[in-house]
Subunit: 161 residues, 2 copies
DNA sequence: GTAATTGCAAAGGATTTGCAACAGT
DNA sequence: ACTGTTGCAAATCCTTTGCAATTAC
């Protein structure tokens, strides 16, 4: 069992919410994994453990985990959400996403944090959070010579004029 | 009619695809607008012009516009896509998004471009595109004293330990 | 015991797809 | 003429919700 489960229990108690085996199983599955999980990933992992938990309960528990601050929600534009627990070594990080194989690499960028503060100040914004995602082709996929299917805008407007 | 319609016509001809009034109407609606449009926005604008075009056709045309490079697709995590034509003064830009009123401000950040190149080099990635979105509260909403509903993670993990 | 959760199935919203009628080249 | 588009409705995908049975406290 993940050593972080007690944090989730504490959150639930503070909120006056019941600590149920389903909630613990979902939280444990997310805490024990290191990646960026979709709800489907979580369901598969639960099934692999022999847990039989309804889809709705998984969604409802993810909402609690996000609200507790223990899990971060991501949207990489795939049409569904992904979740990542916050017990990594990198508390604030950005994502490098390979559009060929789907691999996600995390990195930290003080320059981006500085730019965020700078721009926010300039426009009078109070920043709560940001996301920086760089989409491209990772070194392995380049070596395989596979073209990226979702490279997006391939043709600059200037070339059309 | 937007002066950019000929570019879209040219793209369609190059691809051997028919130039239809529906496609032109959709493209013109997007080109004449300056914001970040949802498909619903586009449908409303078309109806306001007296055009009666099916939803499926709008979706299919947006795909062509994106592929042509004339329109950029955005996903601000609202559960649907938004589209922006590329004839603004800022070819590459980032977004500052107010989570209270939904306002979007665009800005340019050379630091972020530099960081993208730097990081990509470090990991051997070939970057195709990136997105940086800063979510926060704009100055007007701060003045109104309205709390942001979707501020996200309010409770740092460290405080839970 | 009371109030909240669970799980199923149905509903929901955005997007896609099948197909017959129609239009561009 | 031939190929591709249009528009409608149905289908699909992810997610939310209603509700009766069950469980945490």
């Amino acid at each position: 069992m993940s050593p972080f489960i007690p944090l989730f229990r504490r959150y639930l108690r503070e909120q006056g919410l019941p600590v149920t085996p389903q909630r613990e199983a979902v939280a444990d599955t997310v805490f024990e994994s290191s990646g960026h999980l979709s709800v489907e990933d979580i369901e598969l992992a639960l099934r692999a453990r022999g847990e039989r938990i309804g889809k709705a309960t998984v969604y409802r528990t993810m909402e609690l985990l996000v609200r507790s601050g223990l899990v971060e929600e991501h949207d990489f534009g795939e049409g569904f959400k992904r979740y990542e627990h916050r017990f990594t070594r990198q508390p604030v990080h950005e994502h490098l996403i390979c559009t060929t194989c789907g691999k996600v690499v995390e990195f930290q960028s003080p320059e981006v944090l500085r730019a965020q503060d700078c721009i926010s100040l300039l426009y009078g914004f109070v920043p709560h959070r940001h996301r920086l995602e760089i989409y491209g082709t990772c070194s392995e996929c380049q070596a395989l010579g596979v073209a990226s299917p979702a490279a997006g805008l391939t043709c600059p407007v200037s070339q059309l004029n």
